[in-house]
Symmetry: C2
Subunit: 355 residues, 2 copies
């Protein structure tokens, strides 16, 4: 089911399968937009919940939207805020109207429903907005998951009726937890609405990977072939291969940038914890033959020194490497599909990759 | 006394008056070497005490020296470690041999004297090494200052006799606290030794600025005209003008980079505390007309957001601006000397600069 595609937005094309670096607070942590672009990113993701709370909508509105505020002229996808409200905020209460919650920053009271989410994303001015959904946790009972599916459909309809920014499109989201029949129902209901793209939500939330792969296998065939499919919150190397193999076109994940800041590098052989003592006098790059700026100029010994000395350049150099790795991996996946050898390359990858 | 010059090192020329950005722990905090160079820096300073403790000499030696370790191919000046031992370490005991101290990192016991300092700087492989001196604190009695002057001369002789790295030169340091006759004595003794450059040490350690200027006025005329004069630890805009006016050729200071990380920007009108609430919806750059990357692409509102959100890009963008400001100021000073209008430009500067 692996496939090549191009997603067209008013701010540029996205060659799929694509990985979207995450810029939660209007910045891909440690990097400038030029660096993110230089690493090969064609689109970034930003978070509605965070930006709504800080700096707040008045400032983004006055700045003329998120692109202008953060100096990223390319496409931006914004999440709906739902997932982050559920996982980060306090005292949340979910009803069919939406979610009442308190800010994790200052405890202030807020409400976000489908209309509010669309309005925030309209002001942000993202190129792809996500429908406001209820993301079921894992584990989750059948009944809870069913409630989530029903609300997600109800809210999806209200999202489509809300005003969008010029050129902005909205993607629908399929929920249903780990229950194939709920996934099928959600897919049927959501694809019954006319979204230009569809996401599989509620995966990579703690369930075992084989279950994620099974759900994907039964769900993606239910999504229209001529529209992009986005697997939310997924971005480890193995899951990228497995997701593409199951017909996914778009991915996002904080992992490459987050573990970079903890001193962990991604390589074609698995993770390298640069902070470790064994690298104190290792003057080779993170990965031999890697074409990234970091590997071209710095040794593991130097990177380890930066982390131990608490120097900001450390997280920055590892973020560069990890995004380069992930975006290069996507290019390799695209090339292998182009060349008709996706399965062969996938096997070769897993042969040398240690999880 | 303002003057133009060129300091020749085996790794390149330094056009003076020059400001040297500080890369304490083998990195100019938040920036890559290419960025530091792009901002106009022709030489950086690095700290012997810090690098001696972490990553330690074995690692720097194996890396082939500091330039190679940190990927900075240009000239590096290293301090002697003396000042930092006095100000950072614990339980220090100073004798004519040198300084016994405990690491501020782990409390481990160490000794650095003139020979040790030269040996560390030899391994670091800096282009300009500094003689190991005793920097008197402020305030300081005449007797203590006299002891410092005597030791500084004694140690300077021992530093000159110690082996250096290929192409490495050593600068002598004049001490004497705020006592003109001790300064004169120190200048006489130190210039009696054949150093290729001389620093004025022990200033900017807490004394009022008028006293610093007075000491400079009486000291620099005692230093050879054909050799570079370096005022250690000085780098505020007003002191740079005043230092050059008194015949100083080289400066270093952590201030531009340190206050950047606290959210304070340097401008031609004085400091701008970007963190302040008044800039929350100020969409103008830090300084109108500034040519730096930060001012060309980002508003104060965005920068303030980055600082409030704890984003690393904030300190990074302000470091770029503050170094650009300081290095541009030095270029303006050099140009004004070239054009024969140093005094006029200095006056114009102080007319709009708020301290």
């Amino acid at each position: 089911m692996a496939r090549l595609g191009v997603v067209h937005t008013s701010r540029g094309k996205i060659h799929t399968p694509a990985f979207m670096p995450v810029g939660t607070q209007a910045t891909v942590k440690t990097l400038t937009p030029e660096e993110v672009k230089g690493l090969g990113a064609e689109i970034i993701l930003s978070n509605t919940y965070h930006l709504y709370l800080r700096p707040g909508m008045e400032i983004i509105r006055t700045a003329g939207g998120l692109h202008s505020f953060m100096n990223w002229p390319g496409p931006i996808l914004t999440d709906s805020g739902g997932f982050q409200v559920f996982s980060l905020s306090k005292l949340r209460k979910i009803t069919d109207d939406g979610v009442y919650f308190r800010s994790h920053l200052d405890g202030s009271k807020h409400f976000i429903g489908p209309e509010e989410s669309m309005e925030i994303q309209r002001i942000l001015g993202s190129d792809i907005a996500m429908a406001f959904d209820e993301c079921s946790p894992f584990p989750c009972s059948y009944e809870e998951a069913l409630t989530g599916v029903k609300r997600t459909t109800l809210w999806a309809e209200r999202c489509l009726k809300s005003p969008h920014a010029p050129g902005q499109v909205v993607f629908g989201i399929v929920q249903g937890s780990v229950y194939p029949e709920l996934r099928a129902r959600s897919a049927l209901e959501i694809t019954g609405l006319d979204f230009p793209g569809y996401a599989v939500g509620g995966l990579s939330v703690g369930e075992p990977k084989p279950i994620m792969y099974e759900i994907l296998e039964s769900t993606t065939p239910l999504l229209p072939e001529n529209k992009p499919r986005y697997l939310m919150g997924v971005g480890t190397a193995d899951c990228l291969w497995e997701g593409v193999a199951r017909g996914i076109d778009m991915f996002d994940c904080v992992l490459p940038t987050r573990i970079a800041r903890n001193g962990t590098a991604l390589t074609w052989r698995g993770k390298v914890v640069v902070r470790n003592a064994e690298y104190a006098d290792d003057f080779s790059p993170i990965e031999d033959g890697c074409g990234c700026y970091t590997c071209q100029h710095y040794s593991k010994a130097y990177l380890r020194h930066l982390f131990h000395a608490g120097e900001i350049l450390g997280p920055r150099l590892l973020t560069i490497h990890n995004l380069y790795f992930t975006l290069s991996l996507m290019e390799k996946i695209r090339q292998s599909i182009r060349d008709g050898c996706f399965e062969k390359e996938k096997e070769a990858f897993f042969k040398q990759y240690e999880m």
